[in-house]
Amino acid sequence: MIAEFGHYALVLALGLALVQAIVPLWGARTSDATLMNVAGSTALAQFIFAAASFAALTAAYVGSDFSVVNVFENSHSAMPLLYKFTSVWGNHEGSMLLWVLILALFGALVALFGSNLPATLKANALAVQAWIASAFYLFILITSNPFARIAQAPAEGRDLNPILQDIGLAVHPPLLYLGYVGFSISFSFAIAALIDGRIDAAWARWVRPWTLVAWMFLTLGIAMGSYWAYYELGWGGWWFWDPVENASLMPWIAGTALLHSAVVMEKRNALKVWTILLAILAFSLSLLGTFLVRSGVLTSVHTFASDPSRGVFILAILVLFIGGGLALYAWRAPLLKQGGIFAPISREGALVFNNLFLTSACATVFIGTLYPLALEALTGDKISVGAPFFNLTFGPLFVPLLIALPFGPLLAWKRGDLFGAAQRLMWAAALGVVALAATFAIQRGGPVLAPFGVGLAVYVMIGAIIDPIERIGLFRQPFAVAFARARGLPRSAWGTAVAHFAAGMLLFGVIAESQWNSERIVSLKPGESVSVRGYDLTLDNMIQRPGPNYRELVARFSVRRDGAVVDVLEPAKRTFPQRQMSTTEAALMTVGASQLYLSLGDIGSDGAIAVRLYHKPLVLLIWFGCIVMVLGGALSLSDRRLRVGAPKPARHKPSLQPAE
């Protein structure tokens, strides 16, 4: 009964979305406030029904109702409760339901918090949001119904894919989807502005917080997925340039570019046409990501749906929205008035430079990901484009970007002083060179790339915080004065500095991990030892342990440094009988930002177990960098300017005036 309720709620949500897709648009055309107001209430109601539908599926999972096909295929009664919740989206149908739920959530949030928006913009944007929602409701109801029943209910489920039975992967999809789908708001606003044929600086001010929120979630989602891959896949890699990873990276890069160009639009009323295009592209790339993952075009670890009919349906959605969006853009964008002009050396110029390199990097990932598909379709030649290609092309595009990064905030709007900015960055450059020389001296004959990478990272980090340091007069004024000034500095300035600093951290982590990683691959019998970077690990014993829905082989290692035991590590191999699959559970020992990484292989005929041990220096900086970057975003989001929003024009509403 609960499943049917969920199914019915989903159909009602579709109905509401269809109303929301048409009525407000008509209202905006005819300037009918009543019709436009339909958008807000339908958006809220649509969210409630989508949530009810999602709750119904969750109830089916938690109650282990195996008469529902989806639950039968992806759950098991013995599974821990947490994973019963998370397996709701650990499959194709459920994850699409989560997708529309988040879409409806964003629509509802715009309806709730968009009271300062011009009525037509809000009505049009919510209508566009509902077009997207309708398309995806139809997709779920027609091709991927999560509520389908089995006539004869089986007694036990097939269990969730063991790889997905992990807290990291449990939170990865919701975060990622909040990011992907969050960009739908920028898209809807862009389309609404194009329909209106009117756009100004205030538009950027309304759109930017939504973009920022989406970008923050996407950053977290990607970081989470990367950390999950790192500890779960068992060979310590954290980024594989897998097509599915690329699919999430592309909207992230486009979103980052959008955040920066929206600043120019907001402050200087320039780059309007370009910002609109980026808003369309960011969401188009999110849709493309969904298509690539869901259609099974690229076979990859993430593809749990390989059904051509679904692929074709999503492709149709893709063509409709991306094609339609771009066509509307081509038609209407020339009508938009151009804004202020600026000299090449200026804050605007720096942000344009940022956009040039970010979009080039995005294009590189795009072409690298889709080229093999296109080539095979056109000529039949099969080639592979993998990590070595991306490392070779993507890296060099980021170097100029990172060198230019500290300059941006130091240049004035309209016309900047490059020489002055360079002088102010002298300290950062000097410390960067010192770091370069020091690294070179310390590692002596180590990897050539490392000193330059470290130097660049130090330069970026110091360069990022020079602006606030100078503005608050730290080291020059008494501390109390500096502190008071620091509090007075706009939060968005802090946000910029923190997020840019984080980019340096991230680079530092990437360089340290990739250049100084040590590896030991050995076979050990109990009592034998292996050493890496001053840590001696001894295999004490191996035991078999039962888990709730798996068995595990645990190896106990004591870690010694200078003879004294500092830690005990227990890497494991789990076997899930239901799916006849096994997973490796790496054991990690964290020292500062560095980690020892230990994972198990197979047991040989002589009773020795294969072991892979890594020392990964400063590897955690990669994910700390992402988190700090998100904190920067949060600081910027809390800026007064965005909280207050644009002033509301005074309006006469005769119908609402009290009767005399």
């Binding site: 894919n161 790889i163 896949l233 068992g234 060979w235 890699g237 594989f240 340039w241 897998d242 097509p243 076979t299 990859s300 670890v301 593809t303 390989s306 059904d307 051509p308 002009i341 090449p344 344009v352 040039l356 390199f357 979009t359 080039s360 990097a361 294009a363 590189t364 072409i367 690298g368 080229y371 080539l375 000529t379 030649d381 099969k382 080639i383 592979s384 484009v385 993998g386 070595p388 290609f389 070779l392 092309t393 993507f394 060099p396 691959i521 050995v522 076979s523 191999k573 699959m581 096994s582 997973t583 490796t584 994972s599 198990l600 292989g601 197979d602 040989g604 294969a610 072991v611 892979r612």
Partner: protein, 159 residues
């Protein structure tokens, strides 16, 4: 049929992801040769896996290829010869970094092309905008208006 095949490959690769890639018994005694073997392995695709190098994969095929690479290296092949041998045997699909050739021209030139075309477009656009704004600043006054302005200025100058 293709779907069934795809799902089998998928299932296999999931299994393969689970364990270690390079096994202790595969490692060569000579550290220089071994490090060359590892570097090569990272450039070679495990062809039954999804986007995994033979260095990362634990599929039986990846193991065979790793052993093969090591055999060729020990028998004195250069890195280039090993790659050529594998491409002759398995096709270019085995390379994770495709060769620079006519059919990958677009791929390899894409990053540079994006920056160059984007940069060129930007410069052209800024120039046009600058000219337009200059032109529009001049074009705002008709000749009769300009005459009137001159007249007014003259008047102001006299008074």
């Amino acid at each position: 049929m293709r779907r069934a095949l795809a799902s089998i490959v998928f299932a296999l690769s999931l299994l393969s992801v689970r364990a270690l890639a390079v096994q202790p018994d595969e490692i060569l005694k000579d550290p220089a040769l071994e490090s060359r073997a590892r570097a090569l392995s990272q450039e070679l695709r495990c062809m039954v896996c999804q986007n995994q190098s033979i260095d990362d994969s634990d599929a039986p095929l990846a193991k065979d290829l790793r052993v093969l690479v090591r055999e060729r290296l020990t028998s004195g092949d250069s890195d280039r010869q090993v790659i050529d041998f594998l491409v002759a045997r398995y096709g270019e699909f085995v390379l994770l970094r495709p060769r620079f050739s006519p059919h990958t021209l677009l791929l390899w030139l894409a990053p540079l092309a994006a920056v160059v075309i984007g940069g060129w477009g930007l410069i052209a656009f800024t120039r046009r905008r600058a000219n337009e704004s200059k032109a529009s600043a001049q074009a705002q006054l008709t000749p009769s208006e300009q005459a009137r302005v001159a007249e007014l200025l003259k008047e102001t100058g006299q008074s």
